[in-house]
Amino acid sequence: MSDDAEDDIILSELPDDELVQQMFDDLYDGLKEEIEEGVNILLERGWEPYRILTEALVGGMTIVGNDFRDGILFVPEVLLAANAMKGGMAILKPLLAETGAPRVGKMVIGTVKGDIHDIGKNLVSMMMEGAGFEVVDLGINNAADSYLDALAAEDADILGMSALLTTTMPYMKVVIDALVEKGIRDDYTVLVGGAPLNEEFGKAIGADAYCRDAAVAVETAKAFMARKHNQMAAG
């Protein structure tokens, strides 16, 4: 590209609001180094880590998530964006822990037994982290026990399960049945997702919600956490 006006953006010279807008664009374009630079500039300017996370990174990933939901962006672009966000998060994570940023919620997530596909799950993990959740990623091919063990060990709020194959999606029911059997089903919000699933399937197997993509997963998780907090406040 030879458009000079476009190439000559100097992040450190932009005022805060324009810098944040530029970071939205850079996240959208998956520019990891630029995001890292943006985060460092905002830190130097005295921004709280939590404010950078929510206003710059989460704000930018929301746009990415919406365009993914709407069929404007597809998996490769979202992976690049999430990778750029990860770069920013790596800088912020230790600082967030030090400054005691508010806890949004904790999710245990994994692809069910027999299913190797982890693209959808990875997107959800990254978008959830982008939204400020703590995410414990169990990876692929999880048996019911590995979910149950992690939920207990991590004191998690949310269980996320993903399946990309019609041959593995019924296994989600096996996991939910195991929770019911142990009498702990209501301790967790159970979200399910994956290409072959639909809302009716989610309901039929006893999940709290089916999330058709990563952006919806984040919105749904936030809604359930808000409900939980309200209940706790009321009770």
């Binding site: 458009d3 476009e6 953006i9 374009d29 069929g71 299913d115 019609t166 041959t167 072959p196």
Partner: protein, 336 residues
């Protein structure tokens, strides 16, 4: 002598492929999460029954029970090292059923995706993918498959790797992608883009097209987006999965799939079958419809929606009406 599929394509102007593999095996007792390919060894009679069901319903071609029979997938079941062997067994059983049928039936060696994301976005290199596919291809060839059948692919890179593997194995091949995300593959590939991609391959497939995805109407729309002279494959799901009493059930009836088969042919498909949820009962109706219904004009989207139900997204990205984001160009940064 030409391969079995090429010769069938010469004799006939449409072929009926098979239906679901997973759905049928579940009905025979396969447990969710278990590898269907292990049954090629431990439950060969059930795999025979799976193939025989398609043959008896009138399929001209059926896929082997080897969709997940590659090292990347089988390693979940501690059987990664057995990819070639389990694929060979799946093809051998297929050969046996096809040869005993008394008519020309093509044994298509199913090769599903690796499940890994390819470089640079993910860990799987081109060479790695070629090796995984090649290993499976050799197994299928040794078992007597007539053609390799690469299916449910999302990434163009993975398709190219499979093409290379087929060439290494010196086997004719076919390929279908799954268009399940707003009319495109998960990776954003449109039907149009797939036609271009296939046309540029150094070793082109005998036929290409779409399988799985979302419902039968979306699949016919995808078929309408293909172009070129290579025969087109349509293998759509029998509706949408629903959960009933511990079973997955697809809501597409045999009559709906019969309508789908005729529409897919009118839309330009030559090899027509089903995917998830498609049972021999569906296939028999599809065969009957293809035999008794005269060819019609190319359908428009309104007719497809009327007969098969609405689409999952307004646009499939081929009509210039797909959603897009307008960004002020001044803020856009160009990458060297």
């Amino acid at each position: 002598m030409p391969d079995a599929l090429t010769s069938l394509l010469r004799d006939r102007d449409w072929l009926l492929a098979d239906g679901a593999t997973g759905t049928i095996l579940f009905n025979m007792g396969l447990m969710s999460g278990d590898a269907p390919e292990l049954w090629n060894e431990s439950e060969p009679d059930k795999v025979r029954a799976l193939y025989q069901g398609s043959v008896d319903a009138g399929s001209d071609l059926f896929l082997t029970n080897t969709f997940g029979g590659n090292a990347a997938r089988l390693k979940l079941h501690d059987a990664g090292h057995r990819a070639g062997e389990l694929s060979r067994m799946g093809a051998e059983i297929g050969r046996e059923i096809a040869d005993a049928s008394g008519r020309k039936i093509v044994v298509a060696g199913s090769m599903g995706p690796t499940g890994e994301i390819m470089a640079p976005m993910g860990p799987l290199t081109h060479e790695g993918a070629v090796e995984i596919f090649h290993q499976q291809a050799e197994g299928l060839k040794a078992g007597g498959a007539d053609v390799l059948w690469v299916e449910t692919i999302s990434a163009p890179e993975e398709l190219k790797a499979a093409a290379e593997a087929a060439a290494l194995a010196r086997m004719p091949w076919c390929v279908t992608m799954s268009f399940d995300t707003a009319g495109r593959t998960m990776m954003g590939t449109t039907s149009e883009a797939m036609s271009r991609l296939v046309a540029k391959l150094p070793t082109p497939p005998l036929a290409y097209g779409a399988n799985c995805g979302v419902g039968s109407s979306d699949l016919v729309r995808t078929v309408m987006g293909f172009s070129g002279d290579t025969p087109v494959i349509a293998k759509g799901n029998a509706g949408i999965p629903k959960y009933h009493d511990g079973h997955i059930h697809y809501d597409g009836t045999p009559d709906l799939m019969a309508d789908y088969a005729v529409l897919a042919r009118d839309a330009g498909a030559t090899i027509i079958g089903g995917c998830c949820g498609t049972t021999p009962e569906h296939l028999a109706k599809m065969r009957e419809a293809l035999e008794t219904t005269p060819r019609g004009p190319k359908p428009d989207l309104a007719l497809v929606a009327e007969k098969l139900g609405g689409f999952s997204s307004e646009s499939d990205g081929t009509d210039g009406r797909g959603p897009s984001r307008d960004r002020p160009r001044s803020r856009r940064r160009a990458r060297a």
